[in-house]
């Protein structure tokens, strides 16, 4: 693809293709984690349809020119799910697929959490929860100051919303009328140690964002038609309220035994038998969809 080829917003993607992509992300994730020896399965799986929608439909991108000033930005606030992003960026041509083979090794540009200085296509580093909505607000404000119409998307976990800085950013985004900023909450209901709201209640999320001056879309984060419609119909970047897409998801979605025990698979490593079961379950679904 020529360096100046732009992937526009609203690219053709059927609902079936979206779900197929999400499952492909899951399979790739399982392989990357097997290679590295440890990883975040269930929180990557809850976000798989969201990542697929963004990168194969909603974002305006130029993979041959990762620093193109007019690209839409994507920040992975919940940085621990980068294993789901690495195969996507390779697929879009940000770097050779060979790079994936180095994942988890010393010197690899691709880490468990993304580093913008190392990996092309990463708009900002993450890993320290709670920072990226502030950074995204800065990018959105920069768009206003420089007269550009790009959007900035920030994917946060629901546990991440317990960080106080998120709400400082939420205040600033509405104060500065950043309708070009979209927070996507992967509301899978769990953080590392247990149910999110058992640790510290964050609900009602929609009302909280509304109270901070945001436009709220509360959706099923695995439902393809809803995802396509929601991201196709985002308010114009020139509008005056930041948008919170609260995606109700299931942690571990797409693998039956993980969805039943999401917390056990927040961080872990599948043994050989489990690996085979997971690959079989996802592959069967993908073949069925193809058939």
């Amino acid at each position: 693809m020529p360096a100046d080829t732009t992937l526009e917003r609203g690219r053709p993607l059927t609902g079936a293709e979206l779900l197929h992509r999400a499952d492909w992300i899951r399979l790739q994730t399982v392989d990357l984690i097997a290679q590295a020896g440890l990883g975040h399965y269930s929180s990557t799986f809850s976000a798989a349809e969201l990542v697929a929608t963004l990168y194969y439909r909603a974002l305006r991108l130029r993979p041959g020119e990762p620093h193109w000033p007019d690209r839409d930005r994507f920040l992975l606030g919940k940085g621990h799910v980068a294993t789901g992003l690495w195969p996507v960026l390779a697929d879009l041509g940000y770097y050779p697929r060979d790079w994936l083979k180095q994942f988890g090794k010393v010197g690899s540009p691709l880490n468990d959490h993304p580093n913008m200085k190392l990996a092309p296509g990463i708009d900002f580093s993450s890993g320290s929860l709670g920072h990226n909505l502030s950074v995204g607000a800065g990018m959105a404000l920069a768009a206003r100051l420089t007269g550009r119409d790009y959007r900035t998307f920030v994917l946060t976990g629901d546990g991440e919303l317990q960080e106080g800085q998120v709400w400082e950013a939420a205040m600033a985004a509405s104060h500065y009328k950043l309708g070009n900023l979209v927070a996507i909450v992967d509301a899978n209901g769990f953080s590392g140690a247990g149910p999110t709201s058992a640790a510290m209640n964050i609900e009602p999320l929609g009302k909280r964002f509304e109270a901070f001056g945001w436009t709220v879309r509360e959706i099923d984060g695995h439902d393809a038609p809803t995802l396509l419609k929601t991201f196709d119909e985002l308010p114009d970047p020139g509008s005056h309220e930041p948008v919170a897409v609260i995606a109700r998801t299931r942690k571990g979605h797409g693998v039956d035994f993980m969805e039943k025990q999401p917390q056990a698979w927040h961080l872990g490593l599948l043994n050989a038998e489990q690996y085979a079961d997971v690959v079989a379950e996802i592959s069967a679904r993908m073949e069925l969809a193809n058939g």
Binding site: K117, S125, G127, V135, G136, A172
Partner: protein, 323 residues
């Protein structure tokens, strides 16, 4: 300086021009006129950039009392090609936000500038919550951050002008208790320490208010004791002037550091680490704030109490020479 009262920290009394009243605010306004990419941010400290706001209102971003957000927000602005200058109180700048600074600004090599006003014990009787005596110890461990501590108003402006084009993070630590050190500010070279005086008996190195104290003490040492001091302005704390330090330490064999910062982790530590690594046998001493709970009072009395005075600097230098 000695008779400065609490109110003087916040006023322009005895100050002549915008440049001397608020050199860091003056400098960023000058820079802003040259470079449209420069924006300023503050968390309820807009008075520190009033001149900039008057000239470029659309390029000032008020952050409210939310310092951590201001640093990450600035990182986002910088990643999109702008050059943000954050004006903060040092305790709530480098100290409260050090993780945001490290992770979002420093690790990502972004050209954000943090201007820390009211550093050291400048906030005086407000209490120790408002002190920043650990900030240099923290800032100098950051991989990519340039750490500056101007000696006076003119050097503040000169340092800010000379670092404006650096494509890395910069922390500018502003001391409030400074008198005039330079008639004309030196043209600072990157990582170099200007020499204020030459001598072979003892080396005096200061930053911030410590520079003026070193210069005044050196004068007294020469006049009353015929002690000749090598005196340096350690405005650059990261990177610092290792060559100048080692050459002078080798020559005099005695080094005294002077700083409005904890004895731990600041200039005194830099000097000790450097001479030890080089294998030099040198007598060291520090004029700095002790590693314990600090007293509260008006700054002038605190400086007296903790020996941040020309006479105490001279006394310590004399001891080093005679020991």
């Amino acid at each position: 300086m000695a008779e400065k009262k609490m109110v003087d920290v916040f006023s322009d009394i005895e100050r002549e021009t915008a440049m001397t009243a608020n050199p860091a605010g003056y400098a960023v306004t000058e820079l802003g006129a040259r470079d449209e990419r420069i924006v300023t941010l503050a968390a309820d400290m807009s008075n520190t950039v009033a001149e900039f706001i008057a000239k470029f209102p659309e390029r000032y971003i008020e952050c409210g009392i939310a310092e951590t957000n201001s640093v990450s927000l600035a990182a986002g602005l910088a990643s999109a090609g702008l050059i943000p200058y954050i004006y903060s109180m040092s305790p709530f700048g480098m100290l409260k936000t050090c993780e945001q600074w490290r992770t979002d600004v420093d690790y990502n090599h972004l050209p954000v500038r943090l201007v820390g006003r009211l550093s050291g014990v400048a906030m005086g009787y407000f209490g120790t919550s408002h002190y920043a005596v650990e900030d240099i110890a923290i800032a100098r461990t950051m991989n990519n951050t340039v750490v500056l501590s101007p000696a006076d108003a003119a050097s503040c402006v000169s340092l800010m002008m000379s670092t404006a084009d650096l494509e890395v993070p910069v922390y500018i630590r502003i001391a409030e208790g400074v008198g005039k050190v330079y008639d004309e500010a030196p043209a600072y070279e990157y990582g170099k320490w200007p020499r204020l005086r030459s001598g072979g008996d003892v080396t005096l190195i200061g930053h911030g208010m410590g520079t003026g104290l070193a210069a005044a003490a050196a004068e007294a040492l020469y006049e009353h004791d015929s002690i000749e001091a090598d005196v340096f302005d350690a405005a650059y704390l990261r990177p610092y002037d290792e060559a100048a330090l080692l050459a002078s330490a080798q020559k005099t064999g005695r080094v005294l550091t002077i700083e409005e910062h904890s004895v731990v982790g600041g200039l005194g530590t830099i000097v000790a680490e450097t001479v030890a690594r080089a294998g030099l046998v040198v007598r060291l001493d520090q004029v700095a704030l002790p590693d314990k709970d600090l007293e509260v009072g008006v700054p002038a009395e605190l400086y007296e109490y903790y020996g941040l005075t020309p006479s105490n600097v001279a006394a310590k230098a004399r001891n080093l020479v005679r020991r």
